[in-house]
Amino acid sequence: DFLDCQLTRTYQCRVIKTCRKMGIQTVAVHSDVDSSAVHVKMADEAVCVGPAPTGKSYLNMDAIMDAIRSTGAQAVHPGYGFLSENKEFAQRLAAEGVMFVGPDTHAIQAMGDKIQSKLIAKAAGVNTIPGFDGVVKTAEEAVKIAQDIGYPVMIKASAGGGGKGMRIAWNDEETREGFRFSSQEAASSFGDDRLLIEKFIDNPRHIEIQVLADKHGSALWLNERECSIQRRNQKVVEEAPSTFLDPATRRAMGEQAVQLAKAVQYSSAGTVEFLVDSQKNFYFLEMNTRLQVEHPITECITGLDLVQQMIRIAKGYPLQHKQEDIPINGWAIESRVYAEDPYKSFGLPSIGRLSQYQEPLNLSNVRVDSGIQEGSDISIYYDPMISKLVTYGATRAEALAKMEDALDNYVIRGVTHNIPLLREIITHPRFISGDITTNFLPEVYPSGFHGHQLATDSRRELLASAAALYIAAQLRSQRFLLSTIPQERGKWELCVELGKDRHNVEVTRSGNTYTVEVDAGRVEVSGEWNLASPLLPLTINGTHRMLQCLSREASGEITVQYLGTSFKVRVLSKLAAELDSYMPEKIPEDTSSILRSPMPGTVVAVAVKAGDTVAEGQEICVIEAMKMQNSMTAAKTAKVKSVHCKPGETVGEGDLLVELE
């Protein structure tokens, strides 16, 4: 058996692993930039289907059909995204007699269209969201529909899966803007520019039911996944089961999901997404006719391998399990580790080369599904996901503690990543108590995410650790082999700078243990002080803490990751700290009159030219990165001095776009 997979990199690896277990040979397809990616190495064969832009490779049906023919593949697993929900692709495969691991064309078509799917759902007795409407062609039509439904409304691409391209409008103006963005995004990402506008439910929870249906009319629901933690309508942290559902609601949702699957003669794994309000009323959102990113948490609590089940179903086998055989064993949490900067809008894409990369697989009950390795490039062309980090525990508290540990042990260097945000979310009291909605992030961080906020104790711990690390490095600098004898000092008097604040620190050492007097408190820090390892396992006042050393400069600057967030401190000798006040202040560049690209990407549109006067907040240009469009606005009202970018150009992070006067 050949199985040809085309999907994102993370996903291809996941499918290949199961295929190996089942003794199925695999062919990976890849674009030219991915030619040395992990999935390509894991598969038995690999075929290049084109250059980096997805439209020319992973979405290029002709090239993929050629790959299938040339390798003699008998089946295709489309994974998620890309071609997984494309009915034309499924039809072409059927015409060639190639097995499509997924539902048949009819179901994809029925559920792929958000408008039709709701009609079907309604007919099948599934609760649906009130006031949704049809296809939208112009901005004015969009406004009219929105007014009919009543604000707020949500606008998104009909063909788009997940939350990508989803925009919320509270008035006519925002509806027009949302219409413009969504239709552009729809065309560039899905090749299908239809849109959907519907009533937006405030404060909802996003809870979805995993279903499994065979070709013999049987279907099962595999319990729920709660995916309420989202940013810009994209999932960030998911868990199974949900803290919110009682058995009765779970059963009602599960049964409706199965009804829907049966109504469209669904076969394969699928997900029925619901919005659940505070009264536990649930509304059908959409059905995803593919395996979703967050499927591992369902696998954890049910013990099923969903990829294996999909392949079995595609081969025509009946389901192995009965509904009463489906357990909820323990708790599973998934964090989506992204290559993005969480300090900008909860995550703007970043790119780079993974100079160091270590997954926390040394820990038990941790699963990491990734498609990258040390040395991989994160490019602007694809989804910026680094991995899906899943932890499992007998209880939710256990799974959460494990997640905390796993995030602290995760080494990612070379790209900016969202671990600081993930760690803050899973340790936030509201999250721990299960009090979450899809607006969790904007509610908890109204002025944006700023990293872990230090308290007196944790500040002391951080300062003490940095001071101890500094001394360990200083002492090592004296340990030349075969020459001088290191001089021991009884006491170190240092000054540790954190932000603008200075903290005087006194340290005494005994072996590998440093006793640090800081901020009127005493902290004892001990560890092995391996200066080569990115991980810095310490015992701070008797508590084990995993810190990470991100950088250590001769100037005394040390960047450590502590409680998920990276902190930059400067450790100076007392003398250097005293003399530091004489150092001239370097004048930073005035940034209010220049607009720089906050991330690498492609310039889609430039709305101004030199000489134009722009108002504060006015859109200046649009940058597309990782399939997302971002509007760049003016920081002040001024005349445009010069424009340094043009549509179609690729820009790097920090590149100058527009200069104002």
């Binding site: 082999l481 001769a554 003398l575």
Partner: protein, 528 residues
């Protein structure tokens, strides 16, 4: 008077002795105290206001706490013209602080020019103090660090000051290759004074507060009518990016001194010392999986040589020399299993990593430093050749390119070479090839050792013939791989990139006892 008051309380029978004793002791104390404040508090404040530390503060920051041993604190200038002989114009120690101390426990000689005394200008006495520590440094075999902050010659002294410069220059030259010499420019350094730093092994600068030039902006204006600021003419940016006079620049005095401490740890104390070995926490057999995918499949695509270097060396710690000048070659210090090594690498990211005049000179000087001080050289090769063009030919690329060739060929320290991708033409020979006595020469599977790239070669071999594409494919098959070099023994092995660190560490252990001697000569004649 204090003396008589003190004498009065002493017993009568020792009055005479004590008076004399106290008066000397007090004069000593007074002089020492005066020496410590240099040109006085007012000038110290002015120095601080300029964002600069005093000569003594700098020494204290540079050296281990309490390790400084000062020489010649009582030396004064001997000028008697223009009222200089007056007491108020005498400063104990004159305009420079000299001595020795320790950096991370290792001996170093230091002079630090004191701008608060006559603007740090160089008197005969000032020069004599510097010469004294330089002589001793050479005698005991320890590096010399100069902290330069001087307005230039002491004009009142005339030719004596000029003689002083020459005395220092001579010592810079005779000490060259015997002990490492480092200059840190922390203020003005103009006129003839610039030649001392220029003769030392490394010149570092402090951004915004240090200048190096032969003649200042005023003279430039009057001679060439050019309008130029001090910063543009001889600031840190100019010398680290444009002229190549300075090897690196730092943010401010403190940053520079702390970095200098860090840098010092890479250096052996003298040419009789082996390359230093420091305690290392990075496993010598660590695999670097990222390297297996770093060289792009298309040979025209760039990658960052620094990624390779950072991956291979201990703790990703690489002290780059001249990072902003001739960026098509990367040179600097790192450690392998704790031992200092010099790294030379073509940088495919800049000008395809070609060799041109500036990169050849930059590389050559670095290689010669390493060879002089027993530091093994590791060379990463990805070079498409020498840069063609009139600018290069007229500029003397033949003569300058020969410097790098000369330096690699002449070097007798352990030499390990890794060809990561292209090694084309004469540049292949130059880059520490087997033929220039490379001890271990490796090729990665992506290596292409050939006279030139496929396209150019085919155009010459099959000139006028059809089927150029077919011929090109044949050439690629034959030459665009490591085999032609490997079958001839020109590379010792073809290695998996991820094992490179392990191989180098093992080789360095073996080569630690390498002995190789060039024929006796007075000195070689490098094509300057």
């Amino acid at each position: 008077m204090a003396i008589s008051v003190l004498a009065y309380v002493l017993p009568l029978d020792c009055r005479w002795y004590s008076v004399s004793h106290l008066s000397v002791q007090e004069r000593i104390d007074k002089k020492r105290k005066a020496a410590l404040v240099g040109g006085g508090q007012k000038r110290i404040d002015a120095q601080h206001k300029r964002g600069k530390l005093t000569a003594r503060e700098r020494v204290e920051l540079l050296l281990d706490p309490n390790s400084f041993v000062e020489y010649d604190m009582f030396v004064e200038h001997r000028c008697s013209d223009f009222g200089m002989e007056q007491d108020r114009n005498k400063f104990p120690g004159d305009s420079v602080v000299t001595g020795q101390g320790r950096i991370n426990g290792r001996l170093v000689y230091v002079f630090s020019q004191d701008f608060t005394v006559f603007g740090g200008s160089l008197s005969g006495a000032h020069a004599q103090k510097i010469c004294k520590i330089m002589d001793q440094a050479v005698m005991v075999g320890a590096p010399v660090i100069g902290l330069n902050d001087s307005g230039g010659a002491r004009i009142q002294e005339g030719v004596e000051s000029l003689a002083g410069y020459a005395d220092i220059f001579l010592r810079n030259v005779t000490a060259s290759g015997v002990v490492p010499q480092i200059s840190l420019i922390m203020g003005p350094c103009a006129g003839g004074a610039v030649y001392s730093p220029a003769l030392t092994d490394f010149t570092f600068m402090v951004k915004d507060t240090s200048y190096l030039f032969i003649t200042g902006p005023d003279v430039v204006k009057s001679v060439t009518n050019e309008d130029v600021t001090q910063e543009e003419l001889g600031g840190a940016k100019t010398h680290t990016a444009v002229s190549g006079v300075a090897h690196r620049a730092f943010e401010n005095d403190i940053d520079a001194l702390l970095n200098l401490r860090d840098f010092f740890n890479f250096l052996p104390l003298s040419n009789k010392d082996a390359s230093p070995v420091i305690e290392c926490h990075d496993p010598s057999d660590r695999l670097v999986p990222g390297l297996d995918t770093i060289v792009p499949m298309e040979s025209t695509k760039a990658y960052d040589m620094l990624d390779i270097i950072h991956g291979i060396v201990d703790e990703r710690d690489f002290f780059e020399i001249m990072p902003n000048y001739a960026k098509n070659i990367v040179v600097g210090f790192a450690r392998m299993n704790g031992r200092t090594v010099g790294i030379v690498g073509n940088q495919p990211k800049v000008a395809s990593g070609c060799l041109d005049i500036n990169s050849s000179v930059k590389g050559a000087r670095f290689v010669r430093f390493c060879d002089a001080f027993n530091i093994p050289i590791i060379t990463f090769v990805d070079v498409p050749g020498f840069l063609p063009g009139t600018a290069q030919e007229y500029g003397g690329i033949i003569r300058h390119g020969a410097k790098l060739l000369f330096a690699f060929a002449e070097a007798t320290v352990p030499k390990i070479t890794i060809i990561t991708r292209k090694a084309y033409g004469g540049a292949y020979d130059v880059m520490s090839s087997k033929h220039l006595r490379g001890d271990m020469n490796y090729a990665w599977p992506t290596a292409e050792v050939a006279v030139m790239g496929a396209k150019g070669a085919v155009q010459i071999i099959f000139r006028g013939k059809e089927n150029q594409a077919e011929a090109e494919a044949e050439y690629v098959e034959k030459f665009a791989n490591p085999f032609p070099a490997a079958v001839r023994g020109f590379v010792d092995d073809i290695i998996e990139p991820s094992t490179t660190r392990k191989r180098i560490c093992r080789d360095l252990e073996v080569l630690a006892s390498k002995k190789q001697v060039n024929p006796w000569k007075k000195h070689a004649n490098i094509p300057l």
